[in-house]
């Protein structure tokens, strides 16, 4: 029985030589992790720039921006952003942020770097596949960006690509020709990359744990990455299937998502037999679990950091593991709550509604356990800790509005308004982004051997959290007043014209937040070269990544064969020498 074990453990390979093998086509999980993080950083800069353009259009609809006309001559005719270009910007903003930042960085980025080390492995189970997954993701991003430069420009159908708009081709509007086809191709490529990454993570976690690293000794980050990978493995293929059908509709003339009797741009379409609702089912069967692929790693990171900086074991470890699993599982049976307004039997709506509200139970377990971990702890208020607390804050404020939207009667009113925009930006966008900030400050010393600046981190934290709440809390009111999503301007509506000052306020807040991100960028690049040197165990933490040098050698553990003797969060153990005990420490207080 252990013959397999010994073969599966000796996957260490010699350190590669030469720049290309070492930094570009590297099979080292640590290099790949950092590559994913930089891919995400690039995507974040692009996505944020696009959102700034949207805020300009919304706040000052008629104003002219000659500089932007210079950059996008077709998008800004006469210096004013065209509504179609607004929709194209919105689509690319959503797609880039959801797929190439929020899915990529917390799971593939930090997961790649940290997960193998935390379980005591020398690399992932499939190092070459890992490299291929990364470069496939790069190709997906390049194909997506190419969609902006083809005839007609980027698609205008949003990140959900609802048919019939997305299935008809050029006739339906600008960007729906080659741009939309490239968009679907990009997402299909991304699906392949993601499910291969997920497969790699699951195999690594199951097969490559060091001796003594039983499941219940795994850090909650590992549990979260493992569960998110399982969800990704089961969700992405469904989007892939949907994408194949949508491509067939566009390229082979099928009508899977097109019903009969459509008149488009004055032309009677010959399609018949299909249903646009079918796409919604396929998309959201992926799309809802996708939210948990994004947020579960954030929960793991938050648990890990809150425990470390409270100097206390995480409260109710087993309940935390169970809650992660429950959220991952329930995520697969609630997709219908995205479709309350699409037409649905009230009974089905009711079932989806109750199931969706059920997500509140494991979510509340997590929140209360985070608070209970903080309770009575010796809290170290590092920048990383602040971001983790920011995650908890967003998880609560964004989660509460989720309870409202989960009810069909309320959702029929709120659907497609700014209330929804505010909800998902807080719960999915900001919470996940703050977990990225937290993880970055926490593991930066491990990755580069130097701390990030605490002062800059705290300044960045306070500006960002105040700023984003000034953006998104007013958005709830806009939504309640009935402001619709995906409109380039509201000033045409008498009932919304009084709220224009609120829109302008949101835009100013967005500009401040956008500018504050320069602090973060400065902090990252400055600290790489000139940050304070960090010891191996930079935060006096307990898990395996703190046993090895910073930055770790190619095979992580060198000559050491890691053996695990205890759980992941042994802080402030009575009678112990220090207020933390590493997982590799054999000596128990009082001896055997």
């Amino acid at each position: 029985m252990s013959s397999h074990a010994s073969t599966s453990h000796s996957t260490g390979h010699a350190a590669p030589q030469g720049f290309i093998r070492k930094y570009v086509f590297s099979t080292d999980h640590k290099v790949i992790g950092i590559q994913y993080i930089f891919l995400g950083l690039f995507s974040a800069i692009l996505g944020t720039a696009l959102s700034m353009m949207m805020r300009l259009r919304l706040a000052w609809p008629g104003s002219q921006f000659p500089l932007l006309e210079h950059i996008f001559p077709t998008g800004f005719p006469g210096g004013v952003m065209s509504p179609e270009f607004y929709l194209a910007v919105l689509t690319i903003h959503g797609t880039i942020m959801v797929f190439f930042l929020l899915t990529t960085v917390p799971l593939s980025g930090f997961g790649n770097y940290i997960l193998p080390i935390q379980i005591g492995a020398r690399d992932m189970a499939f190092p070459v596949l890992n490299m291929l997954s990364y470069w496939t993701t790069v190709v997906a991003l390049m194909v997506l960006m190419a969609s902006m430069f083809v005839e007609g420009g980027a698609p205008i159908s949003g990140w959900t690509a609802y048919p019939p708009l997305s299935a008809l081709g050029k006739i339906a509007g600008p960007g729906l020709g080659a741009g939309q086809t490239l968009w679907i191709a990009s997402i299909a490529i991304f699906c392949l990359a993601s499910l291969l990454t997920a497969l790699n993570f699951i195999t690594t976690t199951l097969n490559m744990r060091a001796a003594g690293m039983s499941l219940m000794r795994m850090p909650l980050t590992v549990w979260a990455w493992f569960t998110a990978s399982t969800v990704a493995l089961l969700a992405f293929p469904v989007l892939l299937g949907g994408g194949i059908l949508l491509l067939l509709d566009r390229l082979a003339g099928t009508s899977f998502f097109l019903a009969s009797g459509m008149v488009v741009s004055g032309k009677v379409m010959t399609n018949s037999g299909g249903s646009p609702i079918l796409w919604q089912h396929l998309f959201w069967f992926f799309g809802h679990p996708e939210v948990y692929i994004i947020i579960l790693p954030g929960m793991g990171i938050t648990s890990h950091i809150i425990s470390t900086f409270s100097r206390k074991p995480i409260f109710a470890y087993k309940a935390m593991v169970a809650a992660i699993f429950a959220i991952g599982f329930i995520g697969f049976i609630v997709w219908g709550h995205h479709m309350f307004a699409s037409g649905m039997s009230p009974l089905v709506g009711m079932v989806f509604s109750v199931l969706t509200l059920t997500v509140g139970v494991p979510s509340a377990i997590k929140v209360f356990n985070w608070l209970a971990t903080l309770w009575g702890g010796h809290i170290r208020c590092t920048a990383s800790m602040l971001y983790a607390l920011g995650f908890v804050s967003f998880f609560v404020t964004g989660g509460v509005t989720g309870l409202l939207l989960a009810q069909p009667a309320i959702d029929v009113y709120f659907h497609d308004t700014y209330f929804v925009v505010a909800h998902f930006h807080i719960i999915m966008g900001l919470a996940a982004v703050f977990s990225i900030f937290a993880a970055l400050h926490f593991w930066f010393p491990k990755m580069f051997g130097r701390y990030m600046s605490e002062t800059l981190g705290k300044v960045h934290f306070w500006i960002t959290i105040t700023g984003v709440y000034s953006i998104f809390i007013p958005m709830h009111f806009l939504g309640m007043a009935g402001a619709p999503r995906r409109y380039a301007q509201f000033t045409e509506f008498a009932y919304l014209s009084k709220l224009q000052p609120l829109t302008i306020h949101i835009s100013w807040a967005a500009f401040v937040v956008g500018a504050a991100q320069l602090i973060l960028l400065f902090n990252i690049f400055r600290s790489m070269r000139w940050g304070k040197r960090a010891p191996d165990n930079a935060w006096e933490a307990t898990t395996l990544e703190w046993v090895i040098p910073s930055p770790p050698p190619h095979d992580n553990f060198g000559d050491m064969e890691p053996v695990v003797y205890r759980g992941p969060y042994e802080f402030s153990v009575p009678g112990a020498k220090a207020d933390f005990i590493l997982q590799t420490e054999q000596e128990v207080e009082g001896g055997e």
Binding site: S2, H4, A5, T7, A210, A211, M213, F236, A252, G253
Partner: protein
């Protein structure tokens, strides 16, 4: 190693809890994932069928169903020869393993050729992805979409089998590689066992 054979202790780290290598576990996970890709397509096609009032049932028992049964026979037989190949490679009989893999490839290629004939035959009868002479245009879309994706899998499988056969002959591929390839091949077979009833048997003409 802390391994006394108790199931729970297999999970304590330092080993593979299912006592399988990475490749085999990875292939199982890939197949789980791939089954959802096929699942989404099969469910979409059945959704379209259920939602249509004019779904055609054009296949007579003779020759269509008989022909499709012959295709099924080829594919199922190739699964049997694959099982023999895995058994041979487990015994360490590489020559026999290669022989049985080649027979498996033969079954796969026969299936592909017969299936190509089937496509040409239907195209001759006027079935297109966007229309057909009998009813809902989604019949053709479902047929070509599903069987097309499946044929792509069979084709990839034949190539995969070829690589493994070569590697086995050279001694570069281990028994695990043969077994993992077998898993994939049986899966492709299994998928056909869903497509055959849902696409063919449910569309038998009532006459």
């Amino acid at each position: 190693m802390m391994n006394s054979g108790l199931a729970s202790e297999n999970w304590n780290g330092g080993g593979s809890p299912y006592a399988v290598g990475h490749k085999k576990l990875g292939m199982w996970l890939f197949l789980v994932s791939d089954s959802l890709t096929f699942g989404s397509l099969l469910i979409s096609c059945m959704y379209a069928r259920t939602a249509s009032s004019n779904w055609p049932t054009p296949f007579p028992m003779w020759p269509s169903i008989a022909f499709a049964s012959l295709m099924t026979f080829c594919l199922l037989t190739s699964s049997l020869t694959m099982a023999f190949a895995v058994a041979a490679s487990k015994r360490g009989d590489r020559a026999a393993a290669v022989k049985f893999i080649l027979l498996t490839i033969l079954g796969g290629v026969a299936f592909l050729v017969l299936h190509a004939r089937e496509w040409l035959h239907l195209i001759d009868e006027g079935v297109r992805p966007w229309s057909n002479p009998w009813g809902s245009p989604l019949f053709g879309a479902s047929f070509f979409g599903l069987t097309g994706l499946h044929m792509f899998h069979v084709f990839s499988g034949v190539v995969y089998l070829g690589v493994i056969a070569l590697g086995t002959r050279n001694g570069k591929r281990s028994h695990e590689d043969v077994e993992v390839c077998g898993l994939y091949w049986h899966f492709v077979d299994l998928v056909w066992m869903f497509i055959f009833p849902l696409i063919y048997l449910m569309s038998v003409s009532p006459k």
